[in-house]
């Protein structure tokens, strides 16, 4: 009886996983097949598969440019996130007047989705003069509330005696943060890196609003733009999709644990 229910559960899970994976397979098949992809009925297996569509994508669209832009923006966002969030999380471990107000402020910012701020955010960036620049692309992404609380929890787990000892030794607060607290909060740093990287890598609406030149566009924008002007019968568009998804999948598989931990710990903060 137990075995039967086990087998049944495995079957159900296998079915669910198949449903989740079929879109990937269908697109991968389309990217390597050597036929008119709009012919009906579509083949389940690719016909005479070849990888030349990927070569086409590389040379016909500025993939390297889009990729480099995305990497630069993500690097700025990740670096900013680590520094700003660690500082804010450290400050939140101390008791000071108005701490409750600040915490409430942060929590309420979590309720404000980015999409509700796009118009004034554009105006703010315009006033700051950072439209169409890397800094402008990364600026709203430079700090996230979830990561601040991740750091706060990690810092609170460090025994206060270490900080006291460091203070007696005469270290300034900044030094304490970087020399003592951060090295002991490595999981929090990893979580921070992966969360801010994924969010900045996948951002579409903000780059759409703030970039003017084609040379400043990031990968999601390049993908959307390619969709608009390529209508051929080869799988070039889907080769592009595969090339775009691959780094995201690799990064996710590498850092699964940290990513999931970051999402769920943030979730428990409500």
């Amino acid at each position: 009886m137990r075995r039967r229910s086990h087998i049944l559960r495995h079957l159900v899970m296998a079915l669910v996983c198949a449903l989740m994976l079929i879109p990937f397979y269908w697109v991968a098949k389309t990217a390597v097949t050597n036929e008119n992809i709009y012919a009906y009925p579509p083949r389940i297996l690719p016909l005479k598969p070849h990888l030349y569509n990927f070569v086409d994508v590389w040379y016909l669209i500025p993939f390297a440019r889009y990729f480099a832009n995305s990497v630069i923006v993500s690097l700025i966002a990740v670096a900013g996130n680590i520094v700003f969030n660690a500082a804010a999380g450290y400050a939140l471990t101390k008791n000071f007047a108005g701490k409750r107000i600040v915490v409430l402020l942060f929590l309420s910012c979590m309720l404000i989705p980015f999409q509700a701020t796009i118009i004034p955010a554009y105006l703010v960036s315009a006033r700051l003069g950072v439209l169409n620049s890397y800094l402008g692309l990364a600026l709203p992404l430079l700090s996230t509330i979830v990561c601040i609380f991740v750091f706060k929890a990690a810092f609170e787990a460090i025994p206060a005696s270490l900080q006291q000892a460091a203070r007696i030794d005469g270290l300034g607060e900044l030094r304490i943060l970087f020399r003592i607290m951060l090295p002991l909060a490595k999981p929090a740093i990893a979580t921070n890196i992966i969360l801010s990287f994924i969010w900045s890598w996948n951002a579409f609406l903000w780059p759409l609003i703030i970039t003017r030149d084609v040379t400043m566009q990031t990968l999601p924008l390049g993908l959307a733009r390619f969709l608009a002007y390529v209508e051929d019968t080869t799988g070039a568009l889907y080769a592009f999709v595969c090339m775009v998804l691959l780094p995201g999948i690799i990064v996710f598989l590498m850092a699964q644990k940290e990513f999931i931990r970051g999402l769920t710990s943030g979730a428990t903060k409500g």
Partner: protein, 128 residues
């Protein structure tokens, strides 16, 4: 964290492999990207076609092929281009009698890849 731990962690190994592959690939490309396209033109019966014209087309953005250069085969029916800059080319042959052979489209792995045709281009003999 010890050096050994850093070196074996997945956060180092995966990017290291990616970058190493990138470097090796770029070196390979640099060594083989001179733009040489060479091959042989034969008639339907297998004999080399002397004096046939071979035209090289390069693909542009909107999947049209634009003519780049043309050359003629030598006594042994062989031809050679030295300045291909594209990753997808089309070769048309026009026999000495004016008949056109079937076009051959070549998809390369990188731009200006050196390629030597394995199967010769065929020009159909004139039917007199």
């Amino acid at each position: 964290m010890s050096t050994r731990a850093i070196l074996t962690s997945r956060f180092f190994v995966v990017p290291a492999i990616a970058i190493a592959t990138l470097i090796v690939w770029n070196l390979y490309v640099a060594a083989h990207a001179h733009g040489e396209v060479s091959g042989k033109v034969v008639r339907a019966d297998g004999a080399p076609a002397r004096g046939a014209t071979v035209i090289l087309y390069e693909r542009n953005l909107t999947s049209h092929f634009l003519e780049k250069t043309r050359t003629t085969t030598d006594a042994a029916g062989e031809f050679r281009f030295n300045d291909n800059r594209s990753h997808q080319i089309r070769l048309d042959t026009i026999g000495p009698d004016g008949r056109q052979g079937p076009p051959r489209i070549l998809r390369l792995w990188f731009a200006a890849q050196d390629v030597d045709l394995r199967r010769p281009l065929v020009v159909s003999p004139s039917k007199n």
